[in-house]
Amino acid sequence: MERLIVSPSPHIHSGDSVKKNMYGVIIALLPALAASLWFFGIGALIVTLTSILACVLFEHLIQRYLLKKPSSVMDGSAAVTGLLLAFNLPTNIPIGLILIGAAVAIGIGKMSFGGLGQNPFNPALVGRVFLLISFPVQMTSWPVPVVSRSSYLDATTGATPLSIIKEGLGTGKPFSELATEIPSYLDLFLGRMGGSAGEIAGIALLIGLIYMLIQKIITWHIPVTVVGSVVIFTGLLNLIDPTSYANPLFHLLTGGLLLGAFFMATDYASSPMSVNGMLLYGIGIGIITVLIRTYGAYPEGISFAILIMNAFTPLIDKYMKPKRFGEKVATQKA
């Protein structure tokens, strides 16, 4: 008989693993990818593939040759970053820019902090925001959705609903009039609008969220609070002045709010650990997003909002502890 194994308890394990969670996220993103391919065609395919391959390759190279450690790209986390980065890019972006974005996301956003689980900011968003600030023109030319398109760089572009409304409200037109210039809410929900590769189809993202919740990859706290606080905040603004503020449903269905709330804000490493912390973090993201959307220079603010709240995560973790057993005390003693 072989030697008995001795280890401290517990002696069984749930079987959960980093891989399961990461591939679970990828599966949850598949509906959104399908929608993207449907509306943006070949461009979506090129951007997504390039981004994933670049992220995986950069992580592998950095680990093998710079850090001289065994490569762990098979755990799927680099692929998730690549997929999310692609989902945050327009589908007509040149490959060179994707490579730069991937290098920044993996190199600066993730590996420079120590790799998996150590990154203070969401790597995909670091890459995206870097590109947005460095290449504003390429990053804000959005192909219009055309079913089964075969053009990539020369795709016809148009404004996103968010920028139409933002510019229109800026010139003093009432929201009710502008609402006729954008697709119907049903089209927005189904994804028939201009935007980044993966953010368009609310329904696909919702399916992904439900999958992640069922698989217990994430909990409901962050997505619900982000979406909830956006709805409440924009709802209040809209109640006060319906002509110069868009209604909550519009905010909910446009831009990257759902992608951000479901997939980016919930990034394990850069979000808080306690339930209270998650709620505060989610509310913070929601409010900052609305502030940027309504008062800021950019039409969309979810990326910045998430990065800003990422920066607060260590502070939140320090002061927002989970509810401890016994805190509610023996007051119930009969």
Binding site: E2, R3, L4, I5, V6, S7, P8
Partner: protein, 288 residues
Amino acid sequence: MSVVLITIVTLAGLGAIAAVILYLAAKKFQVFEDPRIDKVEEALPATNCGGCGFPGCRAFAEALVKADDISSMNCPVGGADTMSSVAAILGKEAGSAKPQIAVLRCNGSCEHRPKLTNYQGASSCAVAAALYGGETGCSYGCYGCGDCVVSCQFDAMYMDEATGLPVIIEDNCVACGACVEACPKDLIELRNKGPKSRRIFVSCMNKDKGAVAKKACAVACIGCGKCHKVCPYEAITMNNNLAYIDYEKCKLCRKCVEVCPTNSIHELNFPPRKPKVEQETPEQAQAE
């Protein structure tokens, strides 16, 4: 033009006010510190290893300045040189601590001490020690998870893959005692380095009865007491089936090494013996 002027005046004014505040604050909150503390600190090696028993070199410097008699205080890293220069700064008598070095009091390598179980907990000796007596039949020996190696900040230790035991690199060891603290089994001892780095010690901590110890490990001290009897200087004491050599009394005659039936007494850095003797103790080479 006026804009430039106002800017300059405002900035200059702000600067002046800030300067006055800073000056007053510096005066008011000034803490007097013995200037010798800085000098002593400079003389110390700045490793902040804690080997002196104080939290860092600065604290040690403060204590040195404060103390009337520093002869019992020693910086193991700097040794006698450092202490005499410190003594010169302070005008006090330096002690005469002999240089020390860490030795590992376990020789139960994979070959000598067969493993009975397979440890799979966290890779830390402290965790393993809290759980059980270790993978082998000897519950006094080295766990081989390398807590001592992690604790060493002088690169003076590494784990030998073949034996499963840590190795102390003599040239790098400064006897700070971090590994002594880290070892949950108290297997590492600081001993006098000895003349020409020659020293003799019992490389075993097993307190079990002879037969039990021998069964668990081929090179265990079985407490037979032969070394105790042969030692002409009464440097060896027997306690709980275990021999211990007092390094202050040991005159390095090596008689105990020869009589030890399990080769658990180690001699380090001695020249090879005369051929005749060497045949009797071929294991000496291995002990080195």
